[in-house]
Symmetry: C2
Subunit: 575 residues, 2 copies
């Protein structure tokens, strides 16, 4: 029986902030020293932040991140430090360094480079070719990076054949609904397949469209989850591991596999002896299992963190939100208040002649519930002025969506004027259902810096609001907002349902078409209404140009708009 | 001496329009039949259009493109048809089919998949593994796709070792300044290195940010360019090739290489005998060398084609342009008129109290020169209304860029109102220099569907305008527009030079920083002014969020904003 004190530093770096990230890493190393740990592991590319995108094309950027690694090295002392960075050899690599006694003992290059969904790693990196294991405190340890662990025959497998008893996998793995459970299952299988303890450390924090959820994991050789890191929060997850070297030799299936596996083996193995100090008696550490959270809470936390980090990391200290009395702007305001505090959140209410008394009351209730200040500017006169100015050009033309869009764009202008004057970030309030079918006005309600709920379907918005109201047992989203019929209030007696199928139906079609790439034919053969499906697909395809100009927002579903779903605008494909 | 009649079908497909592209391909096959050719080669992925981006995730889309190939097959008759499509085997491939006597004789899978710059082929495709040659009319022919030809040791090299006398390389290769000359040199070297005739066929047409310039080429075994296809136009480039089988055996260096090359050879070779008819006496064909064009003409043609295709392929029939009397909106109007005709181009002039008499006169001259209709709407009253509406919120606040942006956004609203009411596409008029440093108003002058000169630096705009005026010997861009000092006219006596370095200096810094990824340090050590460089880099970095929401525009430089330069918004890197 061998023992190791391991800590997973689930930290929140900022892309491009090499200085800040380095300081944070050194701080955490110092904290780990106080805890007398043997190994500390940091997330993937935490020196540069992830994903740095085309910053990787800048030679100076790579230089600085390597200089930072060399600075971190000096603080490692008696701890084995595992830290993600960008290495440069013949080409550049998504890499990790193993540091001990202030020396870089070895560098590992990521082998499986994801180049799908939101990932573009083949745009930047060369593929790693070497799979080492190390001896740390008598324990044989294999290291690898993120995507590497997703392949049953990947580096962890080879490392286990080389005798690895502990696999450390460092990550920048973005959040999506249901992904955590899927990952736990996969990682648990990976641990038991390889008869090795698996330590999975993940980044936390928001970066443009992505939010990293942390939730680091430590899993034993049999696949049982021993420890879970917190969700959406920085943490130093410190544990004492007991590793039984004999265990694998008692597993006949395992031994058969080793015999078979060796035959196909074409990777170099590197054995590096690091330290072998006996496990001293140290101050005991505590671990408390994070509480289980519902999918609504999980999404809410993802949105709060993504919004807070976008605001803070971009140097803003306050936000402005256009409030309409509808459910979308209400929930965005609630998220913003949770993210940066009520004093930094202002609302702007911009009624027109189509604004109902109900909406006025609902905005008032929301402001009261959240404790935020709301300014009011009516748009009727400005609107009339536009119409007057356009009277000759529009002569003999009927009223149509032009006039509706004009109102939305006047509001967009007022929001941006506020933003320009006070330096507040405009949060937009469109949901995924609207963004999908283009039920939003470009430069109108779509105008702003960050689209908080851009990837949240309308039906899920309702779930989120109900959960929020239940959470603390007080009303946050006014009850009337939850029950009234959705309306854009851009013309008389307008309802969303005049233009769109009911949201529960719409969201089903959208999920199948956007997240699963189902065709019209498949959707109809699955029992969906032909006319509805056709109409919805047509609307989705036709509004790609709007989405291309929309602000970024937080990915929470399997496939979000933006870097995740990349469609041509010029596109005659109808299916 | 063997002879072959070859035609390169330099066609303009539309992404997603499988039906339309298929019809076009069949039309060109029929034309080739009338010319009695032996081989017709179509561009890369011309059945699906290129790049189809995430349409490739749709299973139905792949099915339909394979169905289309099977339809095209039936029209091939006695001609060898080489056509690009998306193949599905275990995975999907960027592929070409060789068709003869209505049968698919073979399918080639692209081996080198570009995944840099504007390309994301590793997101979609699996790598090809087989390099065949065919015997066509007694001539040994190798085929490959686009990027495959860029590598000296790539498929063409292996094919030449297999005896290929003719290499046919099919492309969807986008235009950039100076790329054509570079490509000619590279292709010429490739032909002579491999002692093979090289036939390069390229797509023509615009697709969102890309414009394909055609300019197909036929190069002999010694590297001499025999035939050039037209630039920016569809064409059936038909030639009679004379191929001397003995030539390579007379080249001792060549024979030494074959001996050496065989040793490293690890690709499967496939020999397929196709037809071997003797060269009949046929009606003679004519070829006329396209005239050489200047870089200004080349860029102008690229912008005209890119604009026309964006308009037409997206189903628009008219455009509206905000005219200010400045050089940018003037040249965009000239491009639009060339693209779709004066009757389909309208101008909107929206003077404010800061608009000079000079501007009014310049707009009038431009409209006269181009023969386009221009509407005028003053914005003073609407502006005053906004200011009045904001009076309480803005109380005690000084005038700043807020008021400037507000004017630009009023104009944006009016443009969009016109667009909504008349179904005209809004062309925006910002140049690359402005887009780089963020000297533009989001939702203001940046509002619109297509940003024609987004990738054209301001200094090049002047060259373009002077060239345009010289071309036909009549004034198109009013002379005064060319000589007056640039101004946004958003406040009293404003000049661009109040906020920006002189454009010739600015453009030098921008080219080095954006297109070459030079660091501040490198720029300064190259003799640029430290303060200027620092200021410019700061402005570029700070305005990424604006560019993210800008409409697409035509790439003409080595590195354009958009799919070519992918920067995070949240980014603390300062260099």
């Amino acid at each position: 029986m061998k023992r190791l004190r391991l800590t997973l530093a689930q930290i929140n770096p900022t892309v491009g902030d090499i200085r800040g990230n380095t300081n944070k890493i050194i701080d955490y190393i110092n904290k780990a020293m106080e805890l007398d740990v043997d190994i500390i592991a940091f997330p993937e590319m935490c020196i540069s932040g992830y994903p740095p995108e085309d910053l990787l094309m800048k030679s100076r950027f790579i230089d600085e991140n390597i200089e930072a690694l060399n600075e971190i090295r000096k603080y490692a002392g008696d701890i084995v430090v595992i830290v993600g960075f960008v290495d440069r050899k013949d080409d550049i690599y998504n890499a990790l360094a193993v540091i001990y006694k202030n020396e870089i003992i070895d560098i590992y290059h990521k082998i499986f480079l994801p180049n799908y969904g939101v990932f573009d790693e083949m745009r930047y990196f060369q593929t790693g070719r070497v799979i080492p294991v190390y001896s740390i405190g008598g324990v044989t340890v294999g290291v690898n990076i993120c995507e590497d662990i997703w392949f049953p025959s990947g580096p962890a497998y080879k490392q286990s054949l080389l005798g690895a008893e502990l696999i450390i996998n460092i990550n920048a793995s973005p959040y999506a609904i249901n992904k955590a459970q899927f990952k736990e299952t996969m990682l648990s299988t990976r641990a038991s397949d390889n008869s090795a303890v698996l330590a999975y450390v993940n980044t936390v924090g928001g970066q443009d469209e992505l939010v990293f959820d942390g939730r680091s994991l430590i899993i034993d050789q049999s696949g049982e989850i021993l420890y879970r890191g917190k969700a959406f929060k920085e943490e130093l997850l410190t544990v004492d591991l007991k590793i039984d070297r004999l265990s694998r030799l008692h597993d006949p299936r395992r031994r058969a596999e080793i015999r078979g596996g060796h035959k196909k083996w074409d990777f170099e193995a590197k054995n590096i002896f690091i330290h072998d100090k006996s496990y001293k008696s140290r101050q005991s550490i505590t671990y408390s299992e994070p509480k289980k959270i519902s999918v609504e809470e999980e999404v809410f936390e993802a949105l709060v963190l993504g919004t807070r980090d976008y605001i803070k990391k971009n140097g803003f200290s306050s936000v402005i939100i256009g409030l309409s009395g509808g459910i979308d702007s209400s929930v965005v305001a609630a998220i913003a208040v949770e993210a940066i505090g009520r004093d930094c959140v202002k609302g702007l209410f911009m009624p027109s002649k189509y604004t109902s008394k109900e909406s006025i009351a609902d905005v008032k209730s929301l402001a009261k519930n959240l404790g935020i200040e709301v300014f009011t500017i009516g748009i009727n006169e400005i609107f009339e002025d536009y119409i007057y100015s356009l009277r000759y050009i529009f002569a003999n033309k009927l009223t149509d969506t032009t006039e509706e869009n004009l109102q939305a764009r006047i509001r967009g202008n007022l929001m941006m004027a506020y933003s320009n004057k006070f330096g507040s970030l405009v949060l937009t309030t469109g949901n995924k259902s609207e963004m999908s079918v283009g039920y939003a006005t470009l430069y109108g309600d779509m105008a702003g810096g960050f689209a908080v709920i851009k990837d949240v379907p309308k039906t899920f918005i309702y779930r989120l609001c109900r959960w929020l109201n239940e959470r603390d047992g007080v009303e946050i989203i006014p009850q009337n907002v939850l029950v009234k019929e959705p309306t854009a209030e851009l013309k008389l007696n307008q309802k969303d349902s005049d233009s769109l199928p009911p949201y529960d139906e719409l969201d089903l079609v959208l999920e199948a078409f956007i997240e699963k790439d189902c065709s019209l034919e498949e959707l109809v053969s699955n029992g969906m209404d032909n006319e509805t499906v056709k109409k919805v697909i047509g609307m989705v395809n036709k509004s790609e140009y709007k989405r291309r100009q929309s602000p970024p927002g937080i990915k929470i579903t399997r496939k979000a708009f933006g870097r995740d779903r990349r469609m041509p605008i010029t596109n005659r494909y109808k299916d």
